[in-house]
Subunit: 247 residues, 2 copies
DNA sequence: AAAATTTGTCTATTGATATAGACAACTATA
DNA sequence: TATAGTTGTCTATATCAATAGACAAATTTT
């Protein structure tokens, strides 16, 4: 990306230090600030962004807290290496296989599960009657010990009774579905949006308040086109990008 | 979406009123707050979010300013109708055809154009030598008089000399490419991310500071697989969602 | 007409945010 | 060993953000 001007905005509900922290993150992502190298000195950054040096210090302090930067007195402030995961989305999107090559270990942790009546939206997506019982799973995707996604998933309770136990045991949706005789499935639809992370996402994904999450709402179907799974997934925008396949 | 708890976070660089404004926007998008109906009274909202009534008023004031809400003394605060556009992304993504049925009028406005040497990234995507001349177009997508996207597009300057004039005249990428003998093209790859809008996006998309943009980086190719166009598009997350096709 | 409900305005207080300047502490280099 | 460059700490001040309470103004309900 060519570094477009993009200046800092005042009195808009987002503090200057938070905006500058975001700009520094962008700079790292775009290669403006190289990894494992020193950031420009505080005075230079202050001049570049048109703010006081102390404001820049607040931004840096937040990023040090996040583990993105490391400050050393007398030497400089350094960018720690933190690769952004590229999460593929396509007809055969699978959590585990998708991140192969980028991480050495990944699995899905089951945070909680419950059975509830289907809302109209979920009933329609799964082809059930409104109010039919559905199983709801709250999960967190982890790769190399880092949280990379947070998802809420619904299944027909009648057809997939006990799937929460299978998830807890296998740590994989694909493996769990196999136990119900589903050896292959396709992604039918995906709708994408973005918003600020809510408190639940912040805790589960270990994010700083104000962070942005990418949100996908997807329906998976069998090869016959029968809907089996409805899911909303949240990805931390600062650590993950989505790569659309087969377009 | 089931309304997950998601409480409000303090001293994180994002002011409470901005967080609450975001929550209200979410509430409208999710149907929690119906369009053309009254919002709960300020005291009720204050209690729901655990903040002072004046803080809620600040959030409402911002959304009134944005044209999302309308406050009437003695009556209540009303949600104005503002449908979120659903922008399709697929192999044959076209700006104009994609929004058919959702809007009555749409076109692409050319904001500026220039010729510059290709960065490594753009050269690789377009199959050119690094430093080769490329045409860069800055455009804004408009539907029914509202800005719905902001894009930066690069073309090989040698092959597409004068495309900026065609764009200015036709208001359409598809129509402009036809003048260069390209009657059909496909989307080869799309990478998706999200971030806070920068100053340029804020101005071009008529957003409030702190707003979130969805970012797509895409390469379009001819039917023979030859790359012809590299583009970065920004969509206001509060007004647009991306619907992934053919997955 | 009266009461209840809701938004609008005002004053006051507290804490967070941002600016400004000075100097200490530490590191690398001439 | 100086010197320059960099991060760390301190004080002070002004503005913004958030809370609190009281009452006015407009609308709807009783």
């Amino acid at each position: 990306m060519t570094g477009l001007a993009s200046s800092i905005e005042r009195r808009n509900g987002v503090s200057l230090w938070r905006q500058i922290a975001d700009r520094i993150l962008q700079g790292i992502a775009s290669g403006d600030f190289a990894e494992n190298a020193a950031l420009p000195p505080e005075v230079a950054l202050a001049e570049r962004y048109g703010v006081n040096r102390h404001t820049v210090r607040s931004a840096i302090a937040a990023l040090v807290q996040e583990g993105v930067l490391k400050a050393e007195q007398g030497r400089g402030t350094f960018v720690l290496s933190r690769k952004r995961l590229s999460y593929p989305i396509g007809a055969r999107t699978r959590f585990s296989t998708g991140l192969q090559g980028q991480t050495s270990e990944r699995h899905i942790a089951l945070l909680s599960s419950s059975t509830e009546p289907a809302s109209r939206r979920i009933a329609e997506a799964l082809g059930l009657a409104k109010g039919a019982a559905v199983i709801r799973l709250e999960t967190r995707g982890e790769a190399d010990g880092h949280a990379v996604s947070r998802a809420t998933t619904w299944f027909d309770a009648k057809r997939f009774a006990g799937i929460e136990a299978a998830m807890a045991e296998t740590g994989s949706i694909t493996a769990s579905l196999k136990r119900f005789g589903i050896n292959d499935y396709l992604r039918h639809s995906t709708v994408l949006s973005a918003r600020h992370a809510d408190a639940d996402d912040l805790a589960a994904l270990d994010l700083q308040p104000g962070a942005i999450v990418l949100v996908t709402v997807a329906v998976n179907v069998t090869l016959d086109g029968e809907p089996i799974q409805f899911a909303e997934s949240r990805f931390p925008a600062e650590r993950v990008e989505l790569r659309l396949l087969a377009l």
